[in-house]
């Protein structure tokens, strides 16, 4: 299959390892990966902040980059960006009265998948250890992220994949379905409330005794990781694509002080 990678702006600029891991996984499964070079961003920051007019060129650019490219399906390692492509792009096109753009945006949205959705529903991955060679001997906890959970209805696809990684010690995160408090510009406009939400999320992450908190959205992970770092915690964050891409021969590089898990729950 020919798979177009939508790296998303934050992963492209700040977390290239996540995009590289996504490419690795797909190539390991024997697929061709293409990177439509005109791509930049899904525009959700603009839409969610109310700057619809400013979102139009961003959305138009995404649609142009993807509807001219040659691929079967597109994938992004981010639930919120996929939700934006699927739900917000047609709406933005409608808001500026561009019916043609709306139709093209809807078509691109229909071909765009979040990574776990693509792996489980389209590529039939049920056992990451066996099919991808995923090996990650660490105690990990998992934050599901709001948009993946509620807008895309990813259900347990991500945690199911994580559970099948060899050597992993997956700890349940208390109150996992609670928002981490990022919310794009919410974290700046309502910095106090956002910080209070983050504090609780960080405390729950710490309570699991995990070395790492993983998830499917780089922005939430940046937020949670940024809070943990400020609090001087040794727990860090890592995108689930990097855990899935990690193998015995090529282990994911993990920053921070990471203890190798015994495979048993740490108390």
């Amino acid at each position: 299959m020919r798979i177009a990678l939508f790296a998303t702006c934050i992963v492209d600029a700040m977390y290239p390892a996540t995009a590289k891991a996504t490419v690795k996984i797909l190539e390991r499964l024997g697929h061709d990966v293409v990177f439509p070079e005109g791509q930049a961003c899904c525009g959700q920051m603009h839409v969610n902040s109310g700057y619809l007019k400013e979102a139009v060129p961003v959305v138009a650019n995404h649609v142009a980059a993807f509807d001219t490219a040659d691929y079967d399906v597109a994938v992004a390692p981010s639930g919120s960006c996929v939700a934006s492509v699927k739900h917000q792009h047609p709406m933005v096109a409608r808001s500026c009265g561009d019916a043609a753009l709306e139709a093209r945006a809807t078509a691109v949205g229909a071909k765009t998948y979040e990574l776990s959705e693509l792996l489980v529903d389209v590529l039939g991955v049920t056992d990451a250890g066996a099919q991808l060679g995923s090996y990650f001997p660490h105690r990990v906890t998992y934050h599901p992220s709001c948009h993946g959970m509620r807008l895309l209805r990813l259900g347990d696809r991500q945690s199911r994949l994580l559970r099948t990684v060899q050597g992993i010690d997956l700890a349940d995160l208390p109150e996992a379905d609670q928002c981490c408090g990022f919310g794009g510009t919410f974290s700046m406009k309502n910095a106090d409330v956002s910080s209070a939400m983050l504090q609780d999320k960080a405390a729950n992450v710490e309570a699991t005794g995990a070395e790492l908190c993983t998830g499917g959205d780089a922005s939430c992970l940046m937020h949670i990781g940024g809070g943990l770092s400020r609090q001087g915690s040794s727990t860090t964050t890592l995108h689930l694509a990097e855990i899935l891409a990690s193998t015995m021969e090529e282990p994911a590089s993990v920053t921070g002080e990471v203890r190798v898990s015994t495979g048993k729950a740490l108390r």
């Binding site: 109310g50 974290s187 910080s195 400020r230």
Partner: protein, 502 residues
Amino acid sequence: MTTFLGMPALPAFGSGNLFAGESFPKAAHRELGNAQLRANLGHATHTIRDKRQAVVSELPDWEQLRDAGSAIKESVMARLPELLEEFEKNFTARGGVIHWARDAREANEIVAGLVRATGETEVVKVKSMATQEIGLNEYLEEQGIEAFETDLAELIVQLDHDKPSHILVPAIHKNRTEIRDIFLREMPGADPALTNDPPVLAMAAREHLRRKFLTAKVAVSGANFALADSGTLAVVESEGNGRMCLTLPETLITVMGIEKLLPTWQDLEVFMQLLPRSSTGERMNPYTSLWTGVTEGDGPQNVHLVLLDNGRSAALADEMGRSALHCIRCSACMNVCPVYERTGGHAYGSTYPGPIGAILSPLLTGIQAEENSSLPYASSLCGACYDACPVKINIPDILVHLRSVDVDSKRGTKKVPSQMDVGMKAASWALSSGKHLGLVEKGLPLGRLAAGRDKKIKKLPGIAGGWTQSRDIPAPPAQSFRDWWAKEHKSPAPSRDEKETQ
């Protein structure tokens, strides 16, 4: 909608207790500082959330019920003028009197006039959001009429001279020791040996209220539903105080928003399943009172209904926002909202707090009302409210819509554009082409410099400083993905055309 119920061509915005006194971030900052409040709220919302989840998951057709509730409400909004007329005809035919109120002031004047006509100076009240919205108690007090709240939580708030913090559990922000202290201080004749045991507190309130019920000649209520086909009003409650107010006095005055209508009795069935489960987490609420006009020799002999617009026509005129009027005030959205859970209701200023308040208040007053323009931003858009709402109001989408109305209404009005305006413009340029983004990414090494030796950025200027208030930013990587792909990705997949020619 040019002539709507005799209202002016342009629907007027609402007045009364719909305005935040200060911006949400400012009010939230203050409320977040109250550790006791946060603990009380966290405990209460978690308890009720779990209860709701349990009773909702008992119903295999919950999703269909939500769809049905949403569809009925949508059809009500589509033919509201017609249904209101049908209701008026039936209500009047059964001996009730209808009064139309454009805004809070008109509604207050109507109620005060009706009470004055009875010669009474005291009224008992059933908990009502509509009368909170118009500030009826305060208005009546100015007119020399005392209003006694009879709902336990509402009574606590009233005795404490406080404002409700939640639409269903107005005293959610108080714990039982605080409540005992309020009773001892404010309740005439309270037993000095009162303990903070909930049944003891409930009994004290009951004794206090009994005296009022047995003497009151006038009651004021709200209504949860109005059935157009029979002219019937309904109140749903759990303590029985409502039932007392609705049956004992001679005069009953109900104040109700025009959106509360349901077409038929059959429709009520759907909502009687949705409402109690969503609000109190019960399968069924203990008391549901329905009354249709006047019955000679039984119950109130003078029955009035004040139909309140107060910005509802304006909200109805907003195509994207109008579904906010579907709200049945169950409070499920606030109980699951992470923002509400931490700030409480007072941070929202208006009578309507939480996610629904963040959209309903600005819809009723107009986003141009500066006091309410920060409300639609009081959400991380996590979507928990939309999932919980029994009538499926897409609160996150309406929040985003109102943000865009806010941004657009301010375009070109500012002498100096805000940091946000400038930032969004710049980001729009940077993110509207792969080339532009690639250029910006060339600046990433600068970020590495700013990060210093521990590879963390700890302080950013301007509005971005909100982020670094409690979070670090990792140093950017040496190379963007885009750059890596162009320079180092081993074998870029050839296009299909190239493949075919190979």
